[in-house]
Symmetry: C2
Subunit: 159 residues, 2 copies
């Protein structure tokens, strides 16, 4: 089964295509490309959220939903579970993946750190979209301190 590779290759091509055609060299063009990627991730996340095993969707608490992302969603997309989940119990969650698959093929020098955000944005959207399908509004950002470790921060938006 080459499925996992298929998604990764397609993701890589998509990032490259958006960077080649959408971007002015300046920060405005890059921001536009990031927005497009995040939107695509959001819609894919929404659709995936509807297909993931329904019996697990009877969540009682917010924390259950976040655990679902770390386990079921991550396995469905990346064939592995998230490495850790922390929360301040006030609506902020930090999901850490110690070897994030979409970064793992990047060389690990510090000079590549600045290239990392464009490989994280789709997945931020994916998390936000899945949460949205599960009835939770959120803001999702990502950060990398050392490749290929990656942290996703989810801030729940109370209505």
């Amino acid at each position: 089964m080459a499925d996992a590779a298929l998604f990764e290759f397609l993701h890589t091509e998509m990032v490259a295509e958006l960077w080649a055609h959408h971007s002015d060299p300046g920060p405005g063009g890059q921001k536009m490309s990031l927005c497009v990627l995040e939107g695509m991730g959001f819609r894919v996340g929404q659709a995936l959220g509807e297909r993931l095993p329904q019996e697990t969707l009877a969540f009682r608490e917010e924390l259950d939903v976040l655990k679902f992302l770390c386990k079921d969603l991550w396995v469905a997309v990346f064939q592995k579970q998230m490495d850790s989940l922390r929360t301040n119990h006030q609506g902020t969650y930090v999901l850490q993946d110690n070897s994030f698959p979409l970064l793992i093929r990047m060389a690990s020098g510090l000079q590549y750190l600045e290239e990392a955000p464009k490989f994280l944005t789709f997945t931020c959207g994916l998390l936000r979209g899945t949460l949205s399908t599960l009835g939770i509004k959120s803001l999702v950002t990502a950060s990398v301190a050392s490749l290929p470790t990656c942290k996703f921060q989810v801030v729940i938006q109370k209505t």
Copy 2:
């Protein structure tokens, strides 16, 4: 496992994105988007071709390579085999999929036939790219007579 769905959703988003941002309404813009999609498919196909089971790659004949696409590649990407393979024994092959997964969610009215090409182009590139990795230059086109049946025509380019 939501993998199959993941690829399909991402493919749908990619087609939609290219159509929304790349295209003039006219045929020139659409042709440009089709070219971009075909190129993405080609590069993903090249990369997949390098990862598919190496022991099966000791092909003696062209026909073996085409059978490999119909079986191993199709299973890796679409979790099913191609339904039929025909050839004129002069370098032209017709691969038929009676329910092509990227078309199967489209409504089946005749009025949707004209929308079909943009859902086939990535896969044409995928076939051409995998063949390229296996050392064969080709032209690949696709046609749909009635949804969701689809024929891919592979014409080998002799050097």
